[in-house]
């Protein structure tokens, strides 16, 4: 598959038309969507209109933008006006948002062509897409295995060559983990770098939107387009989008890279050796390796599985059958609310709503939610200390390669453990990238994770580019 960078250059240069790029994307989707269950909705009419507008701009001599004619898949928790948006939940089935997410507006403004909405774990709660109300997505590299989650449909779209770019959201690893399991580049930007306006909220202090791509350069290109201040998101950072593409060749010479023992422990041997090999590649490229221990990382899982459910229980209170989505009729309002939510939410969403409600309830607030918020403070302090000793950190994205369907669904805790290396960055609000590096069991891809302080995306992507080149992937 051609990259977004190549497609945009060809379309801007008049070498290829956006409508032809779009036809190629829909042909690739038609070839495997039934088998893999990647898209919940295809917006063929809207995409054709946008591609036609891009071609018309080129014909007029206007520049349609840095993503001209690039087909993009959108995780189905991103709102696009008039296009069905479900968050993979029965409670939103058939809903058409009356507004468009800022990231989608920016993609459209840059000439990109959104082709449709991808499957996810219901309300982005999960690590395998097995929690989708509409059935799981299969991993294009091995259809007997999960693509990861919650942005599993977005990862599968790119890994199957349907679109060169997809957007996902990452609350505890939901971009990086599926990127790792599908052999892609995935970025969890600094909290506030990308506007959350129009993202269906899961845990608002943790959620960030970011790209999944086949190359580091494409990730940089897309992130430049979607980031930057947005007055419609009160948590948006004040500055404009950072310059990333121009820094891709910066390398790592002179940087201190922290090799963090807690970011590999418990992993499969192939994953451990991939991280060691990646660290040595960075050292050979001029970085200095520093061995670090950040014990607080081990407590991330506990803090996260109280904080995220607590925020979710509040955010999901809005699904009450009154203003949009599903309503199950009952004689009075309270019974209608309860019947609607009982029918509309799946088991994992109910578990997290109850966990969060419990953690916030009178008598338990201090013991659970309050403690978790203090652990979050310690996590932020621990990472700040680590970033005095190192310019970036390296570890694994996930403890193993893609796993088979059904292996972790019976025990929620086993599924949650898949996020152990990704969660700490969401709690600290910093940035992290997963980049494919090496293979493990059954020749499946391994993701190496690079972590940096807030606003370090240019540095992280330059380091990821060094690993990509060493792997012969670019």
């Amino acid at each position: 598959m051609r990259t977004a960078t190549q497609i945009a250059a060809d379309v801007r240069g008049g070498v290829r038309r956006a409508v032809d790029e779009l036809a190629d994307a829909y042909a690739a989707i038609a070839a495997r969507n039934e088998e893999l269950h990647v898209f919940l909705h295809l917006d063929e009419a809207g995409a054709a209109t946008q591609a036609g507008a891009v071609d018309a701009a080129v014909a007029r001599g206007d520049d349609p933008g840095p993503l001209a004619g690039v087909p993009v898949a959108l995780k189905d928790n991103l709102c696009q006006r008039g296009v069905p948006t479900t968050a993979s939940s029965k409670i939103l089935e058939g809903w058409r948002p009356p507004y468009t997410a800022t990231v989608v507006e920016r993609l459209l403004g840059a000439g990109a062509v959104p082709v449709g909405k991808t499957n996810l774990d219901e309300f982005a709660m999960g690590s395998s897409t097995e929690n989708s109300a509409f059935g799981p997505t299969r991993n294009p590299l091995d259809p007997a295995r999960v693509p990861g989650g919650s942005s599993g449909g977005s990862a599968a779209a790119v890994a199957a060559g349907m679109t060169p770019v997809a957007l996902g959201s990452d609350t505890g690893g939901s971009i990086r983990q599926p990127a790792a399991l599908c052999g892609l580049v995935g970025v969890k930007p600094t909290y506030g770098l990308v506007s959350r306006y129009g993202l269906i909220a899961f845990a608002s202090s943790l959620d960030q939107i970011g790209p999944l791509t086949t190359t580091v350069a494409d990730a940089a290109l897309v992130l430049e387009v979607i980031s930057g201040h947005d007055p419609r998101d009160s948590t948006s950072l004040p500055e404009p989008a950072p310059t990333l593409v121009a820094h891709l060749g910066d390398g790592v010479a002179g940087l201190r890279v922290g090799v963090v023992s807690e970011l590999v422990e418990g992993s499969d041997p192939e994953v451990v050796s991939a991280v060691e090999r990646a660290a040595s590649v960075l050292r050979d490229a001029g970085a200095t390796l520093v061995n670090l221990s950040i014990p607080e990382i081990r407590l991330g899982l506990s803090a996260y599985y109280l904080i995220a459910p607590a925020e979710a229980s509040s955010n999901l209170a809005r699904y009450d059958g009154v203003r949009y989505g599903l309503r199950v009729d009952a004689p009075d309002v309270a019974a209608m609310n309860e019947a609607t939510r009982t029918v509309g939410f799946g088991a994992e969403v109910k578990r997290r709503i109850m966990l969060g409600t419990y953690a916030l309830s009178a008598g338990y607030y201090d013991e659970y939610y309050g403690q978790a918020l203090k652990v979050r403070t310690r996590m932020i302090e621990a990472f700040a200390l680590a970033y005095q000793q190192a310019d970036l950190l390296i570890g694994a994205t996930t403890p193993s390669v893609a796993f088979a369907f059904g292996t972790k669904t019976a025990d929620p805790m086993a599924m949650y453990l898949n996020d152990v290396f990704t969660i700490p960055t969401n709690l600290s609000g910093d940035a992290a990238v997963s980049v494919p590096f090496g293979t493990g069991e059954a020749d499946l891809p391994i993701g190496v994770q690079l972590l940096g302080p807030g606003r370090s995306e240019a540095r992280l992507l330059a380091a990821a580019r060094v690993l990509e080149i060493a792997e012969g992937r670019a």
Partner: protein, 99 residues
């Protein structure tokens, strides 16, 4: 930390406006207990003097300019509602009969 009982789960479900079957109550009590048991690892830290963090960068209130801007289209918004009465969201009865 306290152990989670079946009654706790039933109470929380009521607070969250969810009705659970007996089987679901048993299942969720076990599953949620394991998550809360895992959370006891936080007790290893001395957190007495730590300030809690609710937001990564410390939120300050953000206000917009007091300018007229377009809002969502009323008909488009109401078109998504399960029940509409006189250009408003319709709901079943809220208040019971007078005693």
């Amino acid at each position: 930390m306290s152990a989670l009982s079946r009654e706790d789960v039933a109470k929380v479900a009521r607070l969250a406006r969810l009705s659970l079957s007996d089987e679901e109550l048993d299942l969720f009590t076990g599953q949620l207990s394991r998550v809360l048991e895992h959370a006891t690892d936080m007790d290893a830290l001395d957190l007495a003097d730590v300030v809690p963090t609710a937001h990564p960068f410390g939120l300050t209130n953000v206000v917009r300019g007091d300018d007229l801007t377009a809002c969502l289209d009323r008909d488009e918004v109401l078109a998504a509602a399960p029940d509409v009465q006189d250009d408003r969201f319709g709901v079943p009865r809220i208040v019971g009969d007078a005693p």
